[in-house]
Subunit: 517 residues, 2 copies
């Protein structure tokens, strides 16, 4: 059944999350009385083909692994008679010193996408495996990539019933059962397991160390916003950080972007305004609403903040080093006569068209696509997001749980459980809870990353530590080492290696085993 306009207006916004609710001094229209729109938490890595498709052959060749499958229960926490499913995992044992020498096992906690993509984008674990004599395993997260219950994506994603086992707790139990079984098959029960993960995968790594200390001796949780729930951090945090990333490059860039939303609405409401915007932004198809365009722009800014890496990268898009700086240069340095929206177009072209190959731009034309992360955001991963009136360059927005809930019901026939994650995994008052509980977790964060605001930024105890880099962005430390790595990044990775060595040495001492490589 096609959605009515009214439904559409109240509908979900996908990757870009902020909708046009603008109070702008430039805009002749006060939209303050417009009802607040619903928004989900921004995605960690965007709905790009990278996530759902295997990496290119070139990338695969760089890292060799075997692909295997493991049969998993659909519900670990009940005895309901459900079909099992096949979980994919990638494995590399080239450097493993084997079970007799208690060779470590490095387990990357697969997150919301094709595991091959995460594997080839986690160069750090590949880089350090030889030094540790470690095996690498990358179990895929259920309901992503090839690890699909019910035999196919179509059936798995059919409705709330088939999707209902897509939860973080089930994914953690998958990892626990998988690694226990793998170790037994290899007679490697005594080999220590170290967890790695970035972003949502980092949350899984941290939670897994806390919930399954008998399975893994420690976890490197990179850019893991485990505090981005309920009322633990202010809901403005994420967009404030994105905005300050732009402001630190240029106040005028920040201001231009802040002004652009009103301009966008203003132009869009003119006769033939949508057509004008279509032309200004070189869109392939005529724009349906200014919201779609705003989503596309907001998405670019948020991702730019995540991948504001100090050297050129190709994580989500091919980009220059410090890409926000380049975006702001384009916005600021355009000829004087350039309009606000033309400046914006020049700016985001750095993100969407750095290579210059794109003739026209396709906006995400399926913002209602029911993918896995949307389901997770509508069930457990309820991360309240607002946009402040002053500190944010985005349109002001106050988080509204009621409309969020309503939209989730419309989209998935499911009622979110916004307090469940903190009930199951904690988060409130984390410093006093973990001061005398748990050990061996590294929370690494770069402060340019908007997700850093929901992560752990100070040491919680002697062995649950925070590594914070001012110039780092979204799980930069997990990327492969390059010749362009700044010293602070090299130092961060050295500290991580040292800590992991300590965990393993400590474990071996406990086992009274000697570790001679």
């Amino acid at each position: 059944m096609p959605k009515t306009r009214q439904q559409k207006q109240n509908s979900l916004y996908l990757s870009p999350v902020i909708t046009i609710v603008i109070i702008s001094i430039l805009s002749p229209l006060s939209l303050a009385s417009q009802p607040s729109k619903f928004r989900r938490a921004p995605r960690f890595v965007g709905k790009l083909s990278h996530l759902t498709e295997p990496p290119q052959r070139q990338q695969q060749q760089q890292y060799r692994y075997e692909t295997r499958y493991f049969e998993q229960r659909l519900d670990h926490f009940s005895f309901a008679d459900l079909p099992t499913f096949s979980q994919r995992y990638l494995i590399n044992t080239d450097h493993w010193v084997g079970p007799n020498r208690l060779g470590p096992i490095f387990l990357y906690c697969g997150n919301e996408g094709d595991i091959e993509w995460f594997a080839v984008n986690s160069g750090f674990v590949w880089d350090i495996a030889p030094r540790f004599g470690a095996m690498l395993v990358f179990p895929e997260h259920r309901y992503y990539g090839e690890s699909m219950p019910y035999g196919s994506t179509e059936v798995a994603y059919q409705n709330a019933t088939t999707l209902s086992y897509l939860t973080a707790e089930q994914a953690l139990a998958d990892f626990a059962v998988f690694i226990t079984n793998l170790k037994q098959n290899l007679s490697a029960e005594a080999s220590p397991v170290v967890l790695f993960g970035g972003s949502y995968g980092g949350m899984l790594a941290a939670w897994m160390r806390l919930k399954y200390p008998h399975i893994a001796i420690g976890a490197l949780a990179s850019s893991a916003p485990i505090l981005q729930f309920e009322d633990i951090v202010p809901p403005e945090t994420f967009y404030n950080i994105v905005s300050s990333d732009f402001k630190r490059e240029s106040a005028s860039c920040f201001n231009t972007i802040k002004e652009s939303w009103g301009e966008l609405v203003s132009v869009g409401q003119k006769e033939n305004g949508l057509l004008e915007l279509t032309k200004t932004f070189h869109l392939c198809r005529e724009l349906n609403s200014t919201e779609d365009l705003a989503d596309w722009l907001e998405s670019a800014y948020s991702y730019l903040a995540m991948v504001d890496y100090p050297y050129p990268s190709d994580f989500m898009m091919p980009l220059p080093g410090y890409p926000i700086r380049e975006v702001c240069k384009k916005i600021d340095n355009a000829p004087d006569a350039t309009s606000i929206l033309e400046r914006i177009f020049e700016g985001v072209s750095v993100y969407y068209n750095y290579t210059g190959d794109v003739d026209c731009f396709q906006l995400d034309d399926d913002p209602h696509g029911l993918d896995g992360w949307n389901w997770q955001a509508c069930t457990e991963m309820v991360m309240p997001m607002s946009s402040s009136r002053d500190k944010s360059m985005f349109p002001a927005y106050d988080y509204n749980y009621s409309s969020f809930k309503e939209e989730c019901w419309n989209d998935f026939n499911v009622i979110p459980r916004p307090r469940w994650i903190t009930t199951e995994f904690g988060g409130h008052d984390i410093k006093s809870v973990l001061k005398l509980f748990g050990s061996n977790i590294i929370f690494s964060n770069g402060l340019l990353d908007p997700w850093s605001g929901g992560s752990v930024l100070q040491n919680l105890s002697e062995t649950i530590v925070a590594l914070v880099t001012e110039e780092g962005a979204h799980h930069l430390d997990l990327r492969p080492s390059t010749n362009e790595d700044p010293d602070w990044l090299k130092k961060q990775r050295e500290t991580e290696i040292k800590l992991i060595e300590d965990w393993i040495d400590n474990y071996y001492r406990g086992k009274k085993a000697t570790f001679n490589m």
Copy 2:
């Protein structure tokens, strides 16, 4: 459909768990070639009316509480559209100093039975509540008492599908959701929660502290055999301890019991043998098989070992202090002409008929009753049990997982997951796992208790400690203080109180709050 004889022979044995597979020098028959029988883990507290029925008015009056109900999800770990159910809890706030003074909340983790029965049998927490200014709450375990999914026991226990959410993980999540909600309703978010539990409830308390450190600051896990799984402790442990409890009272008592099994079979196989046994044991109805009688006897011995308390008690049955001593006196001191089986009858009469009111005995005539603990034993709580040839006074038996599995399938249409508990909660190598992880758990055990062999008997760290009493039995410390308490028991309870005070003081120091009663 009535079971055939063959089926019956291979069937489950309920409360008493050991079947007659005897190699006895006294028995003329070698039964060694008889196929091994299946057995489940012994029950913690027997299938007595106490467990499924509310306590008597007299007991209730001793402890005043309000009965309330809380709506729970049936499956916390999926979003399947299942009916909710009403969880019962008992609450007493008489001594609570309230939220402003961060009054502690003592939560007893309900186990496999009616919560009122556990509440009135956990005098320790009632005794200490005033001293701590603590609130008491006793949430009931799902699928027991009044906390029945699907509205009724009949439906909840109908089949494997309706029973499938009867798991320990779901029960822990019930407690977590319940207490989070209760605290919020009372504006008592900052009040520290301390967990208590005995037996299976003790396992839940320990696991809850490990899995939900943000919910509770510590746990007193009394007689909690969290290591009675897989291959962690030898499967002979339980029956060896029962046997040594008898041996320490009297070697001849031990020997008489050990010999009695062969005698039982021998008599039973005679013409009119079952009738003779029926008379010897004063049974109300004619015996169908010697196995039924053996089950009844074994059950008595196992429970006697659990409740071998130093003073008279009425926990499962009215009993004298050190009841095993009394049983053995009867067995040993009968006139010379008394037969082995007559001695046995005199002995177990101490257990089954201490008051002398019973005219004839009803054996459990529904050993296939599908109750909650049987389901749990056939799914997660797979505790391998053997009976050794030399150290045990019970018939020799080697644990056989295949037949166990087969019987669970026959009874419940369910396949056990014998490795799940250790995957989810750990257990192997617990000392090195928890040496640097977790805090604030007391594992208390009395060494007379056969479950102590599967529990934690040494300190794992500075704050995860074992309190072991040589003369204690099954969660004796949780019982109310009495005038007959021996000094070692008083001392044990004082230590427990001191440790709990430390946890709370530490928590308050962290909160920079002052606790002035």
